[in-house]
Symmetry: C2
Subunit: 293 residues, 2 copies
């Protein structure tokens, strides 16, 4: 594939950033890849792994001359980073991100970018419970969705370039309103993570012996939650703080449903339980059919 | 391995029953394996698959002459089945089960067994979200735990035989008090399943378009819950009805913790969220170290 960009700057070289850098390098999508990260070990690791040409914490150096800058940090770091970056962005540059909350990205990055810089927020629906540059891999995005939420009147050429980048990763592209994205993700991602973190937290509060047994016999359901609850703590803290309304709204629905289940158990209403347990099987079938299982 | 039994009767030829039958056949642990099941298709399938010699719904025929009968039905079927079986059990026979609630097994089977029949309840901590005889496989129990909860004064020779059977499956054996088993499983298995069923149920209540998007973008966390929520509905209904106290107790703890998380999100208490999210990572590490991941 021909190079899409002269210089790509990946800001934050974790699981997603390093996976994206791997694709850019693999497919020769940019002449130069540079990493902007405050962690010098991770910068060195990225260069060593051959997924970046240079890396460091100097904002001016990292974004200077870049025609694409992708925010891959926790969402909570966006505003400060955008402010630091703004004076050094070249005219016509594209700024994008991979964060799980699009309204916050638009709120925190958009207003700080200088005239002539194009902002195309994005969110690849992919990940693992592992963190850091060594955890990334080029195939992470294959067959997964990448949602783009361009603001009204976004530059068409810039949008096309970001789209081409994600298509190169093997993703399927969906364009969506940012508020709608945040509501969908609150259900499919944020609430499941909150619940997994909570139940694993409940287990860590158990007295010593019982906790050892929970670990020993975790294959009966619990361990699937621990995988989800091993995701990056700072990234997830920022997601909940920045998608508060949508998360609290679906959490309220979930709590009502859980209370109904609790009541059905207490009063021995087996038919109610069975009805819900039967209904949920169909959703699994749909996910398998949609090849997202 | 030498045959441990003359005739083994598997009562209920689902995922667990058929997996156990496969091991018995593979290792020649019994001269004859017979299936007792009200579903004639499943009986025929078991014989066809070569994992049983005979199969049918006639209780007298199935358990007559058996020196081991293993209940592999939903827990709610135990009492009726035990009553039907009792007159036909031979003296010295061993009765066991694989259910997820041991107090209920002891309550529902124990008192109905005639003098001279040995009851050794068991619970292999293994499974998948698939059901039925075709879903089973001999390796299901390998490296997993099997918990035995023999009543006080249980026959040592009978216990040794049941232990030998599960050791042949590749399981590690743990002997436990039944009430303690039910409390541990309420945390590691019953609560996670209840929560997974509930969240997937919450999603099925969403309006049409949103539900389609939940399926499409499920790779972001939700799909892991749908796998768990695809487990057998009747089996799970019976588990909740029969381990009510322990489930309601851990559910109460979970609800308190979830409310605390909700409050931390509402008030923007990022440090509290991060503290929990960091703590839960350690549990994942322990499960990987215990080789149950």
């Amino acid at each position: 594939m021909a190079a899409l960009f002269d210089k790509v700057c990946i800001a934050g070289i974790g699981l997603i950033g390093s996976s994206l850098a791997r694709v850019v390098k693999r497919d020769g999508l940019a002449a130069v890849v540079t990493v902007l990260d405050t962690n010098p070990t991770h910068c060195a690791q990225a260069v060593e792994l051959g997924i970046a040409d240079t890396g460091g914490a100097d904002v001016a150096e990292a974004v200077g001359g870049a025609d694409l800058v992708v925010f891959c940090t926790p969402v909570g770091a966006y505003a400060e980073l955008a402010a630091a970056m703004a004076p050094h962005l070249r005219a016509g540059a594209i700024v994008s991100d991979v964060g799980s909350v699009k309204m916050a990205a638009i709120r925190d990055i958009g207003p700080l970018l200088p005239e002539g810089v194009h902002f195309i927020p994005g969110h690849p629906i992919a990940g693992t419970e592992h963190s850091g540059p060594a955890a990334g891999f080029a195939e992470l995005f294959e067959g997964r969705w990448c949602i783009l939420t361009p603001p009204p009147g976004a530059d068409e050429a810039a949008l096309a370039k970001v789209r081409a980048l994600w298509e190169a990763t093997g993703s399927m592209i969906e364009v969506m309103e940012p508020a709608h994205h945040d509501r969908v993700l609150a259900i499919t991602s944020h609430l499941p993570h909150l619940i997994a973190y909570t139940i694993v937290g409940t287990a860590t509060d158990l007295e010593g012996t019982l906790q050892q047994e929970v670990i020993k016999f975790s294959a009966s359901g619990f361990r699937d939650f621990t995988r989800i609850a091993a995701s990056d703590p700072v990234m997830w803290r920022d997601i909940f703080l920045n998608n508060k309304e949508a998360v609290l709204d679906v959490l309220q629905r979930f709590t009502e449903d859980l209370t109904a289940m609790q009541r059905a158990i207490r009063w021995g209403e087996g038919d109610k339980l069975q009805e819900v347990f039967t209904r949920t099987r169909a959703i699994r079938r749909s996910i398998i059919d949609a090849r997202q299982a």
